[in-house]
Amino acid sequence: MTTSQVEQVGGKGYKWVDDRVPASTFLKRNLGKVFPDHWSFMLGEIALYSFIILLLSGTFLSLWFKPSMIEVVYDGSYIPLNGVKMSEAYASTIDISFDVRGGLLMRQIHHWGALFFVAAISVHLLRVFFTGAFRKPREINWVIGVGLLTLALLEGFAGYSLPDDLLSGTGLRIAEGITLSVPLVGTYLSFFIFGGEFPGTDFIPRLYTVHVLLVPGIILALITVHLMLVWYQKHTQFPGRGRTEGNVVGYPLFPVYTAKAGGFFFVVFGLTAFISAVFQINPIWVYGPYIPDQLTAGSQPDWYIGWLEGALRMMPNVEFSLFGMWTLSVNILVPAVILPGLIFTVMALYPWIEQWATGDKRTHHLLDRPRNAPTRTAIGAMALTFYVMLWIEGGNDLIASTFSLNVFTITWFFRIAIFVVPPLVFVATRRICLALQRRDRDKLLHGYETGIIKRLPNGEYYEQHAPISDEERAVILDRNRMPEALPMPDKTDANGVKQPGYWHKSLQARLSQFFYGEQLPRPTAEEIEAAGHHEAELTDERDHEIGESRAEALAPRE
């Protein structure tokens, strides 16, 4: 294309830009960039679009919200609170809800959007985990993802703490109690954060800066790197016909994905707006302003804080006094500081833990089906069970009142079950995965059950099997990429000298056995061929028998 043609299509403006930066060089390589198609690849998109929705609605809210704890007397459209003393933060949130046109809608979009944001990140993370998408070369993006999840939780908590209503103030009080439990520096931390004793008047302006500038700034930067890496490393894809470790199969960025992904942004925004129009969320005018000596029963945090709430509720009341001088609040420290710290650290390090245990340091672009990595899948299911149990315990009072149960019994149940149930889930999940592998092997070797029952002349019934489709075959055979368990190393070498690093190697081998040891043997090419022949022969033979006997039956009798 000549320059004048470019001018015709792109206009003078495009040419102006292209003369200064190599826009065409970028576009020529990227307009045709292929993205693979799968519904689960939309989860990360939902998270991204929710974040954009949060930026837009949040900017709108910041034009009216006053992050101030100065006491004012409310005088506005919401009659029940007229004459009530409250902070400016709370009063301005009431104003946004009742006096600014579209203000309530934007507040509800912002709150629902935040709930969807964290939910989308969480489910996206599960998808990436269970399909092994975190493996080389995508470990960096996994760590960024864990960082984004952590920041999203923090940002969400900061956001719903800002209006200074009774519920959010209670959340902050709990956060202060947790800060105080930190050994050595906790009291100082709390005094520095709150500008003195709780609640003070400094905290909400400070939290506001954290919520609208600091954390979203970091989130935005991390999302940018996250997407650049996805772009550069290209998306993973599920196994299937024609899909290899060396290619990407799908549809081009322009026009298909521009329309699909761009359109999906509007779909997510539209649905968020619909839910915000119809379903009320966080009606702070019902809760009332924060007063430290008041609280309503059944207070619940937003869903993504529920697991921490559950951990706090579940923990027995262990507290030590050290030499009568210092207090160590194990009852708060363990569930609210150590547990989340441990969970996020192990989560961030998981790619390296698995790499080390399995010795699999190869590059992977084809995703695993969860059944083909039974131990990883079982670990994930176990962790998820642990999380869900904490989360349910976080609502123990609501469960107790809804189902007329004793709240103490529920807590005791979870105190025990949290150690018993996840390991059981681990074992069961692994068994299920191995059983699914067995079924795959069966289908590969003997075909699928057609549901056609035939009867042989000798009276024997059998079900006819038919070979599976080429597509399914490609998917099942893909398991051949899975690594083998590492062999146990010899204790001594050929000369009877002790192997250096034996302990390290044998631990690795044992972990590798744990990961891949119980896998079903993969069918070899010969086996598949032999089974195919066998199946075909069997069918032929039986059809022949049936045919003969039918011919016999139909033959004219003499």
Partner: protein, 333 residues
């Protein structure tokens, strides 16, 4: 419409044409649907502006199941939802029906650098290292590292004025000797005879409103609140304080209202058992037994406030709490 296969796609599953690929009428229909979705969006946007102008924020709509809802919020939200959703639905419909659905293949390339680039980068680094003498002149290097490490210190030091040091602030509340206990609701002093057996009221120190006004914050309200409970003296198994001079008054006991776990105000009272339950994390305190913890994550009993009556017959404190109220902290002891 012809279907073009991309050059490397022999291995892919064969392409199955869609109706719009083969039937021009189906393609035309899809085109109409997409266009109508975009027009629906435009109309909804116009409607949104009209709703913004004409619907007052005070209008309420009584809907079944939802109850009274703000008409403005509902109208703006639904119109906005349609305006946005229809754009998305139109674009996706367009992509699915009319844009090519033939899968194409991109080759992957190694993510990392090749050996040649690595060697070249290393050579460049070594050139710079040698030119600067970074490795050869350890004095410069080490003093630079020292100064850089120290340069971060002001960032921490500057945070010092975020707040005062804790001092003894967490160990005291505003309660003093002969300070009357007022009801938290109405700020009225309380006589023992106002409290029947089995009642529990929330209390605050007299003059707390002035203190809050003066300090301009709610700090004292996060520490000083108490609960007063009256029970049959027979039911009291134990009290805090010396056995010969119990801190209650004729079966009236006064405890800190702030939970010793993480500081929620405790409010759920079970009259029959005199158990007090914190709604936040279900720590449960037995008020008949010196407010000891009988369940939940709190580790310490609620501090008891010693009370008596003044010459006018109103309940008063005999002094401040004998121990810090609220959550534990490291220096608590």
């Amino acid at each position: 419409m012809s279907i073009e296969q991309s050059p490397h796609s022999e291995d892919l599953p064969p392409h199955v044409p869609r109706r719009a690929d083969t039937d021009p009428r189906a393609a035309k229909r899809a085109e109409r649907q997409v266009g109508l979705l975009f027009i629906a969006s435009s109309l909804a946007t116009v409607g949104f502006v009209a709703a913004y102008v004409f619907i007052s924020t005070e209008d309420l709509l009584d809907l079944p199941f939802f109850g009274n809802v703000s008409t403005s919020n509902l109208a703006l939200g639904l119109l906005m939802a349609v305006a946005l959703f229809a754009i998305g639905a139109g674009a996706i419909h367009w992509a699915k029906k009319l844009m090519s659905d033939v899968e194409v293949i991109n080759e992957r390339h190694p993510e990392g650098s090749d050996e040649e680039s690595r060697a070249a980068a290393l050579a460049e680094y070594e050139r710079g290292r040698d030119e600067s003498g970074f490795a050869r002149r350890p004095f410069i290097r080490n003093s630079l590292l020292l100064s850089l490490a120290l340069a971060g210190i002001p960032a921490v030091v500057l945070l010092r004025d975020l707040g005062p040091l804790p001092g003894n602030a967490l160990r005291h509340t505003m309660w003093t000797e002969d300070m009357r206990i007022l009801t938290a609701e109405t700020l009225q002093p309380i006589r023992p005879e106002d409290l029947e057996i089995g009642t529990l009221v929330s209390g605050v120190p007299e003059g707390i409103d002035l203190v809050l006004e003066e300090e301009g914050n709610l700090n004292e309200l996060a520490k000083a609140p108490v609960i007063l409970v009256r029970m049959d003296p027979e039911d009291i198994k134990a009290e805090q304080g010396p056995a010969d001079d119990p801190w209650g008054y004729e079966g009236i006991l006064c405890f800190s209202k702030i939970c010793t776990h993480v500081g929620c105000p405790i409010s759920l009272y079970e009259q029959q058992t005199h158990h007090l339950l914190c709604p936040c994390h279900q720590s449960t305190f037995d008020l008949t037994d010196a407010a000891n913890v009988i369940f939940g994550p709190a580790a310490r009993a609620l501090p008891q406030l010693a009370i008596s009556v003044d010459t006018d017959g109103y309940l008063v404190a005999r002094g401040d709490f004998s121990q810090p109220v609220g959550p534990s902290f490291w220096e608590r002891g």
